[in-house]
């Protein structure tokens, strides 16, 4: 039997998903917060023009950030620390010498914003040619949520969306569809809705028959742990607006579909450019049409 990897051994935070044969004509750097496998970026990376380099910063491989998802009592990892770590990784790899496109998915967009802020503050803002946020919620007071303020019915919708994406099958959750705002508020806790999620998931072939509620509860706990960890990191982070253009890519099934630019206009002195794509929060990196739009954006062809 070959030896197992040491679980305590550090895993690389910076990985190259795509390297051109010669010098890179353009470089893209993506910040990935976990929840989905980092390989989800492969479709976008694969559609970029020849000569484009694609580097991935996987926050899931930052040990203290991973630990904070597994244990709610673990110390909060500040957004500023994560951004500093990412910039150190890029600098060590010589990846900030030429202007690059910086993109972050979900919470990764918040870290990407802070990376750009730090480069701006250091007088090196020109290193980031474009800053692209993929359904990231802005770290502004109107959009920050502690765990207690997250509506249980909304969390169930998000979890169902996540489960469907992970299983690669659509899942319609009748539990909260068609409820009025008042009825949604009366869903006491997300855990109370898990039996209905299980029933729908098994009926629609998303989970195999015989799947037990205890198993789904474990999966939900892991999902909620990551979400809560991201919210705890975001809570104390109070960035100032940047004098740079932001592009927000918002899928049809956004985390907050009715919330405009997700608060980003509060963090830029320039108008936020919003690009709508098909798919949802968890499928936007693999939906063929969304991937086409994203690869065009990141390659720079659609950036004014």
């Amino acid at each position: 039997m070959p030896p197992r990897p040491d679980p305590g051994a550090p895993r690389p935070v910076l990985r190259t998903l795509r390297a051109p044969d010669g010098p890179a004509a353009h470089r893209v750097c993506a910040v990935h917060p976990g929840a989905l496998a980092s390989g989800e970026w492969s479709a976008v990376a694969g559609r970029l023009p020849e000569g484009t380099a694609f580097d991935l910063l996987d926050l899931g491989n930052v040990p203290e950030f991973l630990a904070a998802a597994l244990d709610a009592r673990a110390p909060v990892v500040p957004v500023t620390d994560l951004a500093a770590r990412c910039l150190d990784e890029l600098a060590a790899a010589g990846a900030v010498a030429e202007p690059f496109t910086l993109v972050g998915w979900s919470f990764g967009g918040v870290v990407a914003f802070e990376m750009a802020a730090r480069l701006d503050a250091a007088g090196n803002g020109a290193a980031v040619r474009d800053l692209v946020l993929l359904d990231s919620i802005a770290p502004v007071p109107a959009f920050k949520r502690t765990d207690e303020l997250l509506e249980p019915a909304m969390l169930l919708d998000w979890f169902a969306m996540y489960l469907a994406a992970k299983r690669g099958r659509p899942l319609t959750l009748g539990l909260t569809l068609g409820l009025t705002a008042g009825e949604r508020r009366r869903v006491a806790a997300p855990e109370d809705g898990l039996p209905q999620v299980l029933e729908a998931a098994v009926a629609q072939g998303v989970l195999p028959p015989g799947t037990e509620l205890a198993g789904l509860r474990k999966l939900y706990a892991a999902y909620q742990g990551g979400l809560s960890r991201n919210n705890r990191s975001t809570a104390p982070y109070e960035p100032a607006p940047l004098d740079r253009a932001l592009t927000l890519v918002k899928p049809a099934g956004s985390l907050l579909p009715a919330s405009g630019d997700l608060g980003w206009s509060g963090l830029s002195g320039l108008p936020v450019r919003q690009v709508d794509v098909p798919g949802d929060h968890y499928t936007m990196l693999r939906d063929p049409e969304a991937v086409g739009v994203l690869s065009g954006l990141l390659a720079g062809s659609a950036v004014a």
Binding site: R4, K166, R167, P208, G210, G215, R217, L219
Partner: protein, 88 residues
């Protein structure tokens, strides 16, 4: 808390994995690494939740790292079960 031997834990894991993978239990190699089975992270977590319900206690998050096969995990489960029973 029920007492669980390594053999019983192994039988439980083999049966559950066989159902998930739609194969006969005899086709499950107990010395194969968990991550070599065709099991995604969602299924692994669901299986872990079902296992913990059956055992009546939670396994530590690193259990699968240090005990990466059905045979090794079953031995660990039996030891943890005895420890929990002794502490009860």
């Amino acid at each position: 808390m029920q007492r669980v031997t390594a053999e019983e834990a192994q039988s439980w894991l083999v049966e559950k994995l066989a159902i998930r993978l739609e194969v006969e239990p005899s086709e499950i190699d107990v010395d194969r690494y968990f991550d070599e089975f065709d099991l995604d992270s969602t299924e692994a977590l669901i299986l872990a939740g079902e296992l913990e319900k059956w055992l009546g206690f939670e396994l530590e998050a690193t259990a699968l790292w240090y005990h990466p096969t059905i045979a090794a995990l079953s031995e660990h489960i039996a030891e943890e079960n005895a420890r929990h029973a002794a502490a009860a």
